[in-house]
Amino acid sequence: MSALNPLACKIESLLFLSNQPVTEMALAEACEVDLELIEEAVAELEADLVPGRRGLILRRVGGGLILASDPESEAAARRLLSKPRTPPLTQAQAETLAIVAYLQPVARPEIARIRGVSSESAVGSLNERGLIEEAGRSRFGAAIYRTSPLFEKVFGLDGLDALPDPSRFDPTPDDEREIRERLLAAGEQRSEA
């Protein structure tokens, strides 16, 4: 195995020391070199730290670079650090998070309107998990929410633009027909019967 070039080494060091994603611009300033050189070195490091080669993986998350451990070692890491897995998202939390992620900033009553239920406990637990955060108050005093930097880290997203294209969730014409029929057709079916 050959060594990394010195700048790539330095970048690996810096990413190791930082617990937050670091932009290439910040790396260039810290290393006092041009951005292009950083980009080259990052490319070298990125190629070296692809999944399956080492214990670490270089990821682009939240607009910056960050080192993560390989998911292969998750179980061993949880045993070593006695850290249980966080519980999965509940259906209510997932729906609420989707509304905040796509509509942010969004006020709590709007979340309730879309879901048909108050959503208080889902909002509360997402807030507690640090996935969403308050971003002020509406004119009527309702809390307004947006996703947090932790959301991008936990979801491995390189910025909010990396969320799945919302048009993917556009209801199909079939969905629409089905709902329309269910709303209106029952009476007809039954009066025919």
Partner: protein, 253 residues
């Protein structure tokens, strides 16, 4: 992924008895006014059904609830004074469109939520380091360090330490009185005189000493060395040598 809209619910209302979806199409064709429908009853029936099925998790929105919530909103708009003219003009078709739009909107976020949930699962294996910076990076560098503290503070701190601390205040601690000493005090008085007045002899002592002296008297009485009498409550106490105690007193003195 799309589950079918589930509107099965048997209702027993004042204006209508039958399945919910039938009621819905009747309302939407304006054969019954929405104003006459007790939506609260519908919700109560729905909740009872969830309870029966053991699915009491009201945070889990369903399309059913989204629909009822939308109907509630339509109804509340109908009930607003003055708003009626606008809304009575609302064609049944428009109400249907509004409901359909609400259902579709909810479905969009329901599906996006499912996707986020799966994505969350797929990302949970990546773990990140959370360690404090090494100590050498947390401290000021010698080359760039500037004066921020006054050396006088150190001299003052040392001066404070040179000062011996004040003697601790012991006033809250009670002095102890020895029973043995009170016994010998009483005995030595009784050696001088066959009897004495308690107040004359010990009235000037502090309360604790007087109390222990009384205790000493009880002890002497028990041993048969002395007797004492008090004619009235709180009156003077006279202490006397007891006759058989005399020899004993002489011995112990």
């Amino acid at each position: 992924m799309a589950s079918r809209l589930d509107l099965d619910l048997d209702l027993d209302l004042d204006v209508f008895i039958g399945p919910f979806d039938l009621l819905l199409s009747i309302v939407l064709r304006e054969e019954i006014s929405l104003l006459e429908v007790e939506l609260g009853e519908i919700v109560a029936t729905y909740v009872t059904r969830l309870e029966e099925r053991g699915e009491m998790e009201l945070e889990v929105a369903t399309e059913f609830l989204v629909l009822v919530a939308a109907l509630l909103e339509l109804k509340s708009r109908l009930m607003l004074p003055g708003a009626e003219e606008d809304l009575t003009d609302m064609e049944p078709a428009e109400a249907v469109e509004e409901l359909v739009a609400r259902m579709l909107e909810y479905r969009r976020y329901r599906d996006a939520g499912r996707e986020l949930k799966d994505h969350f699962e797929s990302q949970r294996g990546f773990l990140y380091r959370s360690a404090p910076l090494p100590a050498e990076l947390r401290r000021v560098e010698v080359e760039t360090a500037e004066k921020v503290y006054e050396a006088d503070q150190l001299a003052a701190a040392l001066g404070d330490l040179l000062e011996p601390p004040p003697r601790p205040d012991l006033s809250h601690l009670r002095a102890t009185v020895s029973l043995r000493r009170r016994l010998s005090a009483v005995r030595s008085v009784l050696l001088d005189r066959p009897f004495f007045d308690f107040d004359d002899e010990f009235g000037k002592e502090d309360r604790m000493t007087q109390a222990v002296t009384i205790f000493a008297l009880l002890d002497l009485y028990k041993k048969g060395e002395a007797v004492w009498e008090q004619d009235e409550s709180c009156g003077p106490i006279t202490v006397r040598r007891s006759q058989p105690g005399q020899a004993q007193l002489a011995k112990t003195a």
